[in-house]
Structure formats: C-alpha cells, structure tokens
C-alpha cells in the first residue's frame, strides 16, 4: 500500500486537518523522548528553544498543562528526524526563521526574548499570513500551520496532554455508550 496516500486518506476520513507531516507522525506513533539528558537530533539547541516558546504560545499552560509540559518541541524534533525527508526538514528549518525575523523587525528582539503579549502579536501576524496562504501540493504548508498541527497532535498524544484535563482521556479497552447527553461529558475526548 502506498503509505503516504493511505495516511492522507485516513486523515481526511477521520476529519483531521493536520498537515501531511503531522498526520504521518501521529499515525506512525511519533513520541517525544522524556529523558532528562535529551538533546535535539535535527534542531539546533537554539532552534529547539525557539520552538519550545512557539509551541507554548500556541498552547499555553492554563489550568491545564501547556505545550512545554507536554514536550511538544521534542515531539517536533522527533517528527522532523523520523518522518520528514531531508528536503522537507530543510523547508521547515528555513521557514522557522520567520519568527525571529518578524520579532526583530517589530521589537528588535529574538522571539524567545519577547513578553507573552509580544509573542501573541507575532503569532497574530503569522496566523493571518497562514490563513491567506495556499499550499497547493500539500508539501509546503505555512510554517505556523505546520507547527500548530504538530503541537496539537504532539500535545494530545503525550501522556501529559492526553491526561491533562483539556479533553477527557478514554483509554483502551473501555466501554461504549452509543447515545448520551453532551452535557454529561461537557468536553471532547482523547481517543488516540
């Protein structure tokens, strides 16, 4: 089976809107490493720190864990290392530069050095860009969308994110109730 095709098909059938890279990582069992002496494999230390801040700005810690707690930047490093071809890795790392470029242009500081409000300003600019961006081939998503997709899937497939309370975690095996009132649950599920 053409795995790539199959993954695309699966992600559409399941109603996922993840980018192709994030979908293949998700279905391929990508997992962030939790060891204390972790070193990034594809990202540089600096790129890893930058990503950690971007991910946290996308999914900040509130009364539930944030992207840093869920090690989303490590998940992305793992994804880039094992699920991206060299040319896609290159595209991702090149596109990542835009966060610092925008930050320096607006605040004369690197993204990691910005205040939370300033980070949101930068995300706002890039989110707007991403909304207008057309990715005809599905191979070159806007960097904001690529990171957002991977952050969300990394978050919900981590133990910290899955069990963190944002959605209700339903482990396997478990019972099935076919029809209940939404209000009795009040939130979505983490099934994967």
């Amino acid at each position: 089976m053409d795995r790539r095709e199959a993954l695309k098909a699966t992600s559409l059938i399941l109603g996922y809107s993840l980018t192709a890279g994030a979908a293949s990582a998700l279905l391929g069992g990508c997992k962030a490493q939790t060891s204390s002496d972790w070193q990034p494999q594809t990202l540089s230390a600096q790129q890893s720190d930058l990503l950690a801040e971007i991910c946290e700005a996308i999914l900040p810690k509130t009364d539930t864990p944030g992207a840093k707690d869920a090690l989303c930047h490590r998940y992305i490093d793992e994804m880039l290392t094992h699920f991206y071809k060299p040319e896609k890795q290159k595209y991702f790392l090149e596109a990542l530069k835009i966060f610092d470029e925008k930050s320096k242009a607006k605040y004369s500081k690197a993204f990691v050095a910005l205040s939370p409000t300033e980070k949101e300003e930068i995300l706002e600019i890039l989110a707007k860009e991403a909304a207008d961006y057309k990715d005809e081939t599905g191979e070159k998503p806007h960097i904001f969308r690529a990171i957002k997709s991977a952050t969300i899937s990394g978050y919900f497939t981590s133990e910290v994110g899955a069990k963190g309370g944002l959605c209700e975690f339903l482990p396997v095996p478990g019972p099935y109730k076919g029809c209940i009132d939404y209000s009795t649950v009040g939130k979505g599920y983490v099934l994967s």
Partner: protein, 310 residues
C-alpha cells in the same frame, strides 16, 4: 496433531501414477534442510497467491506448467476489491448528543445495483457495497488559523460537528489476463522463484467507480447531511488485500483448476481452500466465505476417506 513451524513448502509431490499427490517437500527455514512429508490428503491453504505459487512451482512430466494446471488457468483470473472512494458530510443536528468510547462496529449498505431489471445499470455489471459510520469531530478537526493561545485551548476542549461517511467496496470481474507468474530469474532466500503480479482494473470496474462515488454523495444528501464531499484516493489491485481467483473452481476441467469440492480436477486428493478457489469476487469481505468452503471441503474429504474414495 503435529504442527511443523519454520517449514516452507516448495512443492507438492506427485506419485508414480500421476493421479495422486504423495505429500509435500519443504525447506526448513532455519536449517535450509529439505524434507518430505507424506499424506493421503493434502490441503493447500497458503493464501490465494501462496497456494498458486506452490502449485506453479510443482512441475513434473505430467504437469509441466504447474500442478493440476491442465486448463492453463492456474495463476490467472486474479481479483481484488476496489475501494478508497465514497463521500462524507456533516450534520448541524444533535449537538446536545454524544457517545462515550469507541464504537466497535460500523454500518453496512448491501449491494443495490444490478439486482433485477429495475436496478440494472447501463455502464457496468455486478455492484458494490458501502461501509461507514458517524462520529463527532475531535481535536484533529480544522480549527481556524486565527486561533492560538487560550482561545485555541477552549476550542480544542470541545467536540465539533457530527460527521458521517461511507466508503465503497466494489466487485472486480475475473479476467484471464490478470495473472501471477513465477519469476525464475529472481529467487527468494530459499531459492524459490518469486511471483510477478500483473493485474489491472478494466472498463467495468472504472465505470462502477464513478457510480460508487456519486451514489454515496446522493445518499448522504438525501439523508440531509451538509457540506457533502466525495473522495477518490485511487486504487490499484492489491490494495484491497482480498486477492483471490488464482486456482478457480468450475464444472469444466478445461476452464478451471478445482472442482466443486475444492479438489484439483486431475488430482482429487489435493484440496485448495483459500481465496484461490474463488470464481467471482462479490463485493463483501471474503474471509468468512473461504472459511465456510474450507469447512465444507474438509467435511467432504472426511466422508470420502471413510468411503475409501481418497
């Protein structure tokens, strides 16, 4: 009963009369040792391609083109199901309703084309069925790019709309030219010829696919779903992993390999009881049919052994 694992059957051994199998020859996957095992009856159930491969590799003066291959049909008439297309849509209703856990089953829509004159289709014969199901969109759904931060977390914590989709599985006709053959130039690690597969969909399947997709959308729209979208991810023979037909059954030994009891016409103590025996593919999952035919063939073999006919 003794099960002998790590045994690669290389061929079926024909006895001196040329009308009975003596047993099988194997190569031990761990030691590469060749061994022979003898029996009154041989059941070949190595999967449609595996069984045909063994038969094609079992040549003798009596059967120069493969064991029991008087008809020339061995390895031919490869069939599979074609699928990976259908439609899905959303519903605005039942937002207050939910489920808990993973639904263990889906829905099935049995074949409704070409059953009688009223359902006769102009462009293709036979038909297809649908499998499908409904669920609410979860955290993987599309969330507007504008959302990040706390607003994104709020959106992610809730479930989305109900979605419902159906995906079609269609029948493939048996074509003599859709075939598997032995490639003696490329051998596997046991020195056995590998298989070359050569099969394609033809006009009937391609015409059927158009209807499989459009009828899906028609039904979902009739069911009042919104934002109905069709999909066709393309399909090649083999993707359905329902390969069958390579040693087909038939009444006439000139056009088939097996008789009605899954016996090789010319060598009745060899039974082939996997997908190889299938004469047509239907459009349903075939495993239960294989199992039922296997049970039936085994029962027949036992009765014949009792009568000392085998």
């Amino acid at each position: 009963m003794t099960i002998r694992p790590f045994s690669i059957v290389t061929e079926i051994i024909l006895d001196e009369t040329g009308k009975k199998a003596k047993g099988v020859r194997i190569v031990d996957a761990e030691t590469n040792e060749t061994k022979e095992y003898y029996a009154k009856v041989v059941f070949l159930c190595a999967s449609a391609f595996g069984s045909a491969q063994i038969l094609l590799n079992s040549t003798s003066e009596r059967f120069p083109n493969g064991f029991g291959n008087d008809s020339g049909e061995l390895g031919h008439n490869v069939m599979d199901h074609h699928f990976r297309l259908g439609a899905h849509g959303k519903s605005d209703e039942f937002k207050d309703k939910f489920y808990k856990g993973r639904r263990p089953t889906g829905i099935y829509i049995p074949r409704f084309r070409n059953l009688d004159t009223k359902t006769k289709m102009p462009n293709f014969i036979r038909g297809y069925g649908y499998q499908g199901g409904g669920s609410r969109e979860g955290w993987g759904r599309y969330i507007a790019e504008a959302e990040y931060g706390k607003a994104l977390k709020d959106s992610l914590s809730q479930n989305g709309d109900w979605t419902f989709g159906i995906t079609a599985f269609g029948e493939c006709l048996p074509y003599h030219e859709n075939k598997i053959t032995l490639n003696k130039d490329v051998k596997d690690i046991y020195g056995l010829p590998t298989l070359t597969m050569d099969a394609e969909w033809k006009t009937n399947e391609l015409e059927m696919r158009k209807d499989m997709m459009s009828a899906a959308a028609e039904m979902l729209e009739a069911a009042d779903l919104k934002d109905v979208r069709t999909f066709d991810y393309g399909c090649n023979p083999g993707l359905g992993i329902h390969e069958m037909g390579t040693a087909r059954m038939g009444l006439d030994p000139k056009t088939s390999v097996l008789n009605r009891w899954n016996q090789i016409h010319a060598v009745p103590n060899v039974f082939v009881t996997d997908g190889a025996f299938m004469t047509s593919a239907g459009c349903v999952n075939p495993s239960l049919t294989y199992m039922a035919f296997t049970a039936r063939a085994v029962n027949f073999a036992v009765e014949e052994l009792k009568k000392q006919n085998l």
